[in-house]
């Protein structure tokens, strides 16, 4: 099942609808699952990812909150300690800045600090990444922060089937999960004929097999990577393997290392700025594990070190896309 195929589908389920459908499925089967957040109820979510839930499950299980991100996450945590399985939405991932204590100092650590007396099985869904000219406070990719905080699972699907399967796994997980949904993905459509019920967290997917260079990516950038792979292959015949990490924590470094052992070359591409971004971790981890097999220095692709500007031309100058990945692939293929 490759992502490129799914992208061309003109009917089918959108990413947003897939999220909503999975939530509904899970809520039907499991009373412990509740949903809350800003505008997630009657309104169905500003990205429509909770559409229909309020009507089916009512105001007790689908709760509209006022604007209070810290209390939203803290309340979810409290519910989870008592056995609920809350799925809360933070309306834009940029607003995670408003509830970092509850995520980082509370949810991530409660199991550990309590010596295992408590667990926090909760999911924080949040639309992340760029959209089109949403500017500096609504375009960030902040996922890397959470990889530095032991106790949190950090995941982000790149397609509808994964979104459904990973969300299901996230809700069933005993650990708190940050679930990043890229804003450009919401309208992606896919036929969901044989959706796997679960996609296990911590397993990367090889989206496109190849032998000359490995491109590691996640979320929206998987699509840019696949496009770049296509471009490179048609231009030079080089065979590009594209890996969708799907989870940053746990990190399926084994799949990446296996690929690099084969290709000898690595590009890591994400939308976040390069410095402080998770691409560096992947590079460093691969260098430690596959030193001998690396034919050239791995290259990171990410945003330029600038806030995301509004004007389209400026935005393109800051954020990476398939052409940035093409350059990086070309560079790693050329060097040794």
């Amino acid at each position: 099942m490759t992502v490129t195929k799914q992208r061309s589908a003109s009917q089918g389920t959108t990413f947003a609808a897939g999220i909503a459908r999975t939530l509904a499925d899970v809520m039907r089967a499991d009373d412990r699952v509740i949903v809350f957040g800003e505008d997630v109820g009657r309104h169905g979510g500003v990205f429509r990812a909770t559409s229909g839930l309020y009507g089916e499950f009512g105001p007790a299980r689908v709760r509209d909150t006022p604007i209070c991100e810290s209390a939203i996450v803290g309340t979810a945590l409290g519910c989870s300690l008592m056995g609920a399985r809350p799925v809360v939405e933070i309306q834009y991932s940029d607003f995670l800045t408003e509830c970092m204590d509850q995520i980082v100092n509370q949810a991530a650590k409660v199991r550990y600090m309590s010596g295992g007396q408590l667990t926090a099985p909760m999911v924080i869904r949040t639309p992340g990444g760029r959209s089109r000219s949403a500017a500096a406070q609504h375009s960030q990719s902040l996922e890397s922060w959470f990889t530095n905080i032991p106790g949190l699972l950090v995941v982000g699907p790149s397609n509808v089937a994964d979104a459904c399967g990973m969300l299901r796994s996230a809700i069933e997980s005993e650990d708190p999960v940050l679930f990043f949904e890229h804003k450009l993905l919401y309208r992606l459509r896919e036929e969901l004929a044989d959706v796997p019920r679960h996609v296990q967290l911590g397993q990367a997917a090889v989206c496109r097999p190849g032998t000359d260079v490995t491109v590691v990516s996640w979320s929206w950038m998987v699509h840019e990577s696949l496009k770049a792979a296509e471009t490179v292959t048609s231009a030079s015949g080089a065979s590009v393997e594209v890996i969708d990490l799907r989870s940053l924590v746990p990190l399926d470094i084994a799949t990446v290392v296996q690929s690099v052992r084969k290709t000898g070359r690595l590009v890591v591409a994400h939308e976040a700025p390069i410095q402080g971004g998770w691409g560096s971790d992947v590079v460093a981890a691969v260098v430690e594990r596959a030193w001998a097999e690396l034919a050239s220095p791995p290259v990171r692709v990410g945003a330029v070190s600038a806030p995301v500007p509004m004007a389209p031309r400026l935005e393109s100058a800051v954020l990476p896309d398939s052409s940035s990945i093409v350059s990086a692939i070309t560079r790693v293929l050329a060097s040794d």
Partner: protein, 359 residues
């Protein structure tokens, strides 16, 4: 809250109150007209695909920006929200540079980097719209703290929405402001909704006024569609601040006619509610007063509207004709001159750095 001092009764009277000059009254009308015309034009340009990103307009709420800013002196400062075109216009901002900013052009206030949600005019003391609900409030406290320490006599007008009241930042800002008695006017444009969330559903057992007043800050609850009332109450608050009386809160009831932003139809609101509020059009109310009191003739009113429309058309043309920023501009103003950002090298380095350029 001092209900008995509500000046709103005046506004429905058939003539202008004593304290307001004709020139002032007409200026208020013009400001509201400019705000409305600007935002209507922006919506139109958005629909035509000329404005990228999103857009939050304040149509129906113009009396708040116009009335409150009219109470300010030149050295006073304003902090806004995500819905703050009106602030810039009410402070005399340049609609050309505003429209250019919305278009993402190099001639815009922020060179196209900010757009609608980050528009500001520092030279006119408008320190910024803000994409994060309630985030401007602590900043406003800091601005007023410093101007107060400098003894400039400036006050700071900080707008926020009803939705901001649930945020911790609202209370933290009021706590520091009350404690330090900063000259801050916290002005709530209570348009009844935060996106789809009705304020009635959030506070079944209390009100914004009660929450604000509990900080020991004088709090007034006013008709935010009555521009004279807004002006008068804000003047009162400014006066108190300038005399060392510290902060005030003003809660102004108003309504946004449109959806939350261009992506929202506002379907969560009953049609008759919208209709009822549209009938309270703040511009209509002031025009009626001016016409009724023979302060302005209907021909003069038409001329005013024509002038405003022409000004906004000109702003649109200006934006259309302005150049897009150069791609390299994206790398400027991340840091001060001291440091440089180079695209693609993955680290920020102190300049000059020879190694930096190697990749």
């Amino acid at each position: 809250m001092d209900k008995d001092e509500r000046p709103s009764a005046n506004a429905t009277a058939p003539q202008l109150p004593q304290w307001l000059s004709t020139a002032e009254a007409i200026r208020l009308l013009r400001t509201m007209a400019r705000i409305r015309a600007f935002e209507e034009a922006a919506l139109e340009q958005y629909r035509q695909g000329a404005i990228p990103g999103s857009l939050h307009v304040s149509i129906g709420q113009e009396a708040c920006s116009a009335g409150a800013c009219a109470a300010l002196r030149d050295q006073d400062l304003v902090i806004g929200t995500h819905r703050s075109h009106g602030d810039v216009i009410a402070r005399g901002g340049d609609v050309r540079r505003m429209m250019a900013e919305l278009f993402g052009r190099a001639t815009g206030y922020c060179g196209g980097k900010g757009g609608s949600m980050h528009i500001l005019d520092a030279a006119r003391g408008v320190l910024g719209a803000n994409g994060i609900v309630a985030a401007g409030l602590p900043i406003a406290v800091g601005v007023s703290l410093w101007t107060d320490m400098q003894g400039t006599g400036s006050v700071v007008l900080a707008f926020f929405g009803d939705g901001a009241v649930a945020k911790g930042n609202f209370h933290e800002a009021l706590t520091l402001s009350a404690m330090w008695r900063t000259p801050t006017i916290f002005f709530c444009q209570n348009n009844q909704y935060a996106v789809s969330m009705s304020i009635r559903d959030v506070y079944p057992h209390t009100s914004i006024d009660a929450l604000a007043a509990s900080h020991g800050i004088p709090t007034a609850h006013i008709d935010g569609n009555d521009v004279l009332c807004v002006l008068q109450e804000t003047r009162k608050a400014c006066g108190r601040s300038r005399e060392g009386g510290g902060p005030s809160v003003i809660v102004a009831d108003t309504y946004r006619w449109m959806g939350h932003n261009v992506a929202d139809s506002g379907a969560y609101r009953a049609a008759d509610e919208v209709t009822a509020w549209r009938a309270k059009d703040p511009m209509e109310r002031l025009s009626a007063l001016l016409l009724g009191g023979d302060v302005i003739s209907s021909a003069e009113l038409d001329r005013l509207q024509d002038e405003v429309q022409a000004e906004i058309r000109d702003a649109v043309s200006y934006a259309q004709e302005s150049a897009e920023p150069a791609a390299e501009d994206a790398y400027l103003d991340v840091f001060s001159e001291q440091f440089s950002v180079f695209p693609g090298m993955g680290v920020t380095v102190a300049r000059p750095d020879p190694a930096a350029a190697t990749y």
